[in-house]
Each structure stands twice: as C-alpha cells, then as structure tokens.
C-alpha cells in the first residue's frame, strides 16, 4: 500500500486545479481495479470462474516494463502487456475447459506461477529482487492506458448488449448445454472470452506499472482479489464495475492521503475501502440486484 506515497498526496479540497489533479489520480488508481474486474466479468459471464486476475495483473505489469525497457517503446510495452494478460487467460481457459482442472485450482496455480515467474524474471533481467529500472512511459497528460480502460468498458457494454459474440458468451455463461444445443462452440467461446478478459486485465497491469514508471516485486498487492470482489458486488455488469472501481479508488485515494495520520482516524480511513466492499457484498442480495451467471463453473458436457 505504501508505493504511492508522497507524490500522490496532493491537496484534499483546495482550488479547481487540484480538483482536476485529484480526479486524474483517482482515475489512475481506478484503472488497474477496473480493468481487472472487467476481465473478471468477461470470464465469469462466459461461465469460467476466474481468480487468476491477480496473476494477469502482475505478469502484464512485468512484461510491459521489460519490453518497454528493452525496446524503449512504450507502445510495444503496452501491446506486450496486453498479450501477456491474454496468454494467462488463454491458459486458464484451456486448463479449465479442456484439461478439466477445477477453476479455483487453476486460478490459484496461475497466481502462484505469475508471482514466481515475475520474480525470477526480475532477477534474471535486472539482477534485483525488488524493482526494475525506471522507464519513461508515455508522458501524456492522460495516460493511454486510462483511455483504453474507459474504452474497453464501453466496448464491453456494447459487445454484451448487442453483438452475436456477446450473446454467445452470455449464453455459455447462463446455460452451456442450451448454448451447445444451438450450435455454439462452448469451449472456444469460453476460451476466447477468458482471453479477452485477460487482455483487458492486462491493460490494468500496464496502467499500474506505467503509473509508477517501473515494476516492483509484488506491486499488484492484492488488487486482483479486490477486483474479484468488485465483480460480485457489481452483479457481473461491466458498467457498474467501472463505477464501483471509481468509488473504491476514491476511498483508496483518501486512504493514501490519510496515511501519515496515525491514530484511530487514520486506521478507520485505511480500512474504509475494504469495509465498504464488505458492506456492498452484504447489501447486494443474490437473486435481486446481483445475479450470478447460472452456468458459472458448470461445463457443457455435464
């Protein structure tokens, strides 16, 4: 939690200029959460339980920095990061849908693999166990990763609502057997959906790494798991995921800003994002506003 300390701590309240700066900060904090959660929505709406979001984030963060540092092109880094996220999704899809590995185990294994492999890579490439050298990033006033994050939310909403592919994904998630009876290739649709989700989570990983201009060991610090909670609280809906990520980040930003303040107040503020998530979890009653895909975790050949 301490990685965005003083530089992020820009005035609470104050004039209009600092309000804009604050807003940009909050959006920058929101991008990893939002993208990972959106990736989770893609995966779970297709019926594949996905706890590998954390692994997707960290691998894409590492790969993007490594490629950026090697080629000194931020764009190549961004693309590599997205591809890396998609690869993890692809492997997760194959393991769950073809090899018959339980989705929670596959996710657990992939997370462990991701953390291990990024640390090995950090040692192998930069001889460090803590962080990579700095990269330049894009240097745009609004980072392209943030624009991509917002863009992918909008695209996801449109795809789910009004494209054939989106309909197939949702069909596989609600009732894989019915989808199969209608001639949908459940296996490929799910693998594709999880891969697309991985790619979007990858954007989040890149956003996180580019925001700090470097890779740090374990830098995702549980964001993928928070994203998992956001997926459930949102009721598996892309638009709500986006809003929730912003709300969570606002609380998270408050938490960072209040970090120097010790005592009970600092503690309350620090736990606020998580307590709010818990309350959200309890508040969304299953069967009312939040409905899980009915085919979640069910394979088509059952």
């Amino acid at each position: 939690m301490g990685e965005r300390n003083a530089e992020a701590d820009v005035g609470i309240g104050g004039d209009g200029m600092s309000a804009i700066v604050t807003a940009t900060h909050v959006i920058a904090i929101a991008a990893p959460y939002g993208c990972a959660a959106l990736g989770g929505v893609w995966s779970e709406r297709s019926g594949v339980v996905n706890i590998a979001l954390e692994g997707m984030l960290i691998v894409s963060a590492f790969v993007s920095i490594a490629v950026h540092a090697a080629t000194s092109s931020a764009w190549l880094g961004l693309i590599a990061g997205i591809v890396a996220g998609a690869m993890i999704g692809f492997v997760h899809g194959l393991l769950v849908e073809r090899a018959g590995v339980h989705a929670l185990l596959s996710g657990l294994g992939l997370n462990l693999f991701a953390v291990g492999i990024t640390r090995v890579g950090l040692r192998a490439l930069y001889g460090s166990s803590s962080n990579s050298p700095n990269v330049s990033g894009f240097g745009w006033p609004i980072d392209p990763t943030v624009i991509l994050a917002i863009g992918s939310t909008i695209v996801t909403i449109i795809v789910f609502r009004s494209t054939v592919f989106g309909l197939r994904v949702r069909a596989c998630g609600e009732s894989p057997n019915a989808a199969r009876a209608c001639g949908v290739d459940v296996f490929w649709t799910r693998v594709m959906a999880v891969s697309v989700g991985g790619a979007i989570a990858g954007i989040g990983g890149v956003a996180l790494a580019f925001d700090l201009r470097q890779f740090q060991s374990g830098m995702t610090s549980g964001r993928g798991f928070v994203a998992l909670a956001l997926v459930v609280v949102s009721g598996w809906r892309p638009g709500r995921v986006f809003v929730l990520a912003l709300v969570f980040s606002l609380l998270d930003w408050l938490q960072i800003a209040a970090q120097e303040k010790l005592g009970v107040f600092g503690f309350v503020v620090q736990t606020l994002p998580y307590v709010a998530t818990l309350v959200g979890l309890a508040a969304v009653r299953p069967g009312q506003s939040a409905v899980a895909p009915k085919g979640l975790g069910i394979s088509a050949n059952a």
Partner: protein, 352 residues
C-alpha cells in the same frame, strides 16, 4: 491410490521443470538436486527446517480442509492466523506482566494457566475472524471467497494499526519477547536437530490434522458437512441444520487457523512481527487440495511444499529461490489435472 498417482505425476512434472530451470541457468541438474537434498532431508538440520516449515502448512491445510468439506472455501486463513499470532504474542506478555508481582512465576500451575490464556486468546480471535464471513454467508448470502479475501486486507490494517499504536517495541514492527516457549526438538538429548527451528509445535500440528480427519470422517458433524457440500436436497430430506453447520465449520476452520503461527511465535522467533507467516493462507489451500481431504495427504503435501521452500533457500546462491514458487504452481496444476477424484471432491464449490 489415484491421489498417490496424481501426486507422483505432479512431482515428475516439477522435477522436469527443475531440470529445465537448472539447464537454463547453466548448471548441472544432478548437482543441484544433490544440493537440494543436502539442504533438506540430507542433514538433520535441513530435515528439522523442513519439519519447522511444514508445521504451519499442515495446520493451514487442515483449516482449509475442514471448511472445504462443507463446500466452503476459507481463503481467510491468512488473516485469521495473522491476527491470532499477534493476539497470542501480545497476550503472552500482558499476562506475565500482570502476574509478575507474584514471585512464583516459574510455578508449574502458573505455566499451565499461562498457556491456557494464550490458547484461549488465540482460538477466540481465530474463531471471531472466521465468524464474520460465516455470518455474512448465512445471513446475506455473501460468498465466502470474496468476503474472506477482503477480511484479509482488513486484518492487515488492524495488525499495522495495533503494532503502530503500542503493541510493537518502539521503532520496530515486532512485539516484545514472549515469556515462555515451546520446547525445541534440538533440546532433546538424543535428537540431532541442532540449530534447526523445529519445535513440539510439529506434534501439535500432526495431532490437529489427525483430529480434524477423525471428526470429518467419524462424527455426525463430519457427515453432515459432506452432505451440505454435495447434496442440498438430501440435506433438506435429512433435516441437516445447514446454516448452523456452515457457521460451525467456519468456526472450527478459524480455530485451526489460529494455531498456524504457534510454531513460529512460541517455538522459534519468540515474538510476533509484521508479515510473519505471510502467504500461509494460500499455501494452506494448496496443501488442502493436494492432500485431497485426507490427514495423511495433508501431512505429505505439507512436507513436499516445505521441502521445496527449504530447498529453494539452500539453492539460492545458484538458482533464484523464486523458481521454487514456479515449481509449486506446476505441482498444483498438474496434480489437479491428473486427479479426477479432486474434481469430484470440489465439484459443488462454485464462486458466485
């Protein structure tokens, strides 16, 4: 038998990956294997270290297994264990300070009372922290995977806050030294575990794993938990009190989780510090899954994972120890793939 085969396939895959890693780093795989063996089971010290590291793993594995039998994924072992570790260390010092006036502090009865207070504190904290997700589940239908993940983060915050506001020694992130310890095995005359951290917490761990196995297999509660996981309609027919059993399963799971830091705090370090035993929750899930719900399976998987961990340390000069994390991941995935029985055990567990 099937689980054993799956385990062997997993080990073979890990061994292959190990060889590949060794070759990638330009080392002889055989030589590295020799170093790995010497650092772990090849010496008394290495074996002691493996046993020390296996202790929290088997306890965490038992905690996860107990909830899993009811189809509950207790991802919160991490937070439950950490809070209990801090609480028990703090209570240990507090209690002895409170009774310090009495001169007979080395008295036999005093020591017993002291341990009872420590254990009661620890178990209470573990149970309370597991009660929250249990209640959220039965009252509000909140899925325990998500709520326990969030509760882990809150536990982190609580520990940071508690240490910063008085429980830690000034300028550090550790508590004061605890006044009493679990006997270490190298203290026994005949044993040769010289210098290694293994303590009698190991036997506590083994006993708890065994006990949990007996409860799950031989008691009404154990049978009913298995029913809850596998047949909601059968539960209704058999009038199983589903909600009460779910809460009970989480409470027991939290209580076992509370014992996880025992060996590190009272057997080795002598205090609790920030981040002590981090990651044990997820390792516990791995142990539970590889162990396939059986006591002997839990112990064996805990030993395998502990061997990899300790072996990683002994290889660290030659091969980055993080390679061992990758090997663990490979074992988990391959074993899950190779064993169809696992799928049956977990079939009814779905995240939603």
């Amino acid at each position: 038998m099937k689980a054993l085969t799956a385990g062997l396939i997993g080990l073979c895959a890990a061994w292959l990956a190990f060889n590949l890693a060794a070759l990638a780093y330009g080392e002889s795989p055989l030589q590295l294997l020799v170093i790995l063996y010497r650092g772990t089971w090849g010496t008394w010290y290495g074996a002691g270290q493996v046993l020390y590291k296996a202790t929290p793993l088997m306890l965490a594995g038992a905690a996860v297994t107990f909830a899993l039998r009811a189809g509950l994924f207790n991802v919160g072992v991490e937070g439950q264990a950490a809070l209990a570790g801090l609480g028990s260390a703090a209570m240990a010092t507090l209690f002895s300070r409170a009774v310090q006036n009495g001169s007979h502090s080395a008295h036999f009865l005093f020591v017993i009372a002291h341990w009872i207070v420590i254990l009661a504190t620890s178990l209470t904290i573990g149970c309370l922290w597991a009660l929250i997700p249990a209640l959220l589940k039965v009252r509000f239908g909140a899925h325990e995977v998500v709520s326990t993940i969030v509760l882990n983060r809150i536990a982190d915050a609580i520990i940071g806050f508690a240490l910063a506001s008085g429980l830690a020694l000034r300028g550090t992130v550790r508590t004061a030294d605890v006044p009493l310890h679990l006997a270490r095995l190298d203290a026994i005359r005949l044993s040769k575990f010289r210098g290694s951290a293994v303590s009698i917490a190991l036997f506590v761990g083994l006993a708890v794993v065994l006990l949990a196995g007996v409860v799950l297999r031989r008691t009404v509660m154990g049978r009913e938990l298995a029913l809850i996981a596998n047949g909601p309609r059968a539960c209704e027919a058999a009038r199983v009190p589903i909600k009460r059993r779910i809460v009970q399963a989480m409470l027991v799971s939290g209580a076992i989780a509370a014992l996880v830091p025992l060996g590190a705090v009272f057997g080795f370090k002598g205090y609790y510090e920030l981040g002590l035993g981090a990651g044990v929750g997820f390792a516990g899930i791995a142990v539970a899954i590889l162990g396939d719900g059986r006591p002997e399976g839990i112990v064996i998987s805990a030993l395998v994972l502990a061997t990899l961990e300790q072996g990683g340390l002994s290889l660290n000069g030659v091969l980055p120890m993080e390679v061992m994390d990758v090997l663990k991941a490979i074992i988990i995935i391959v074993v899950a793939w190779a064993s169809g029985t696992l799928k049956r055990t977990l079939g009814s567990v779905a995240t939603a």
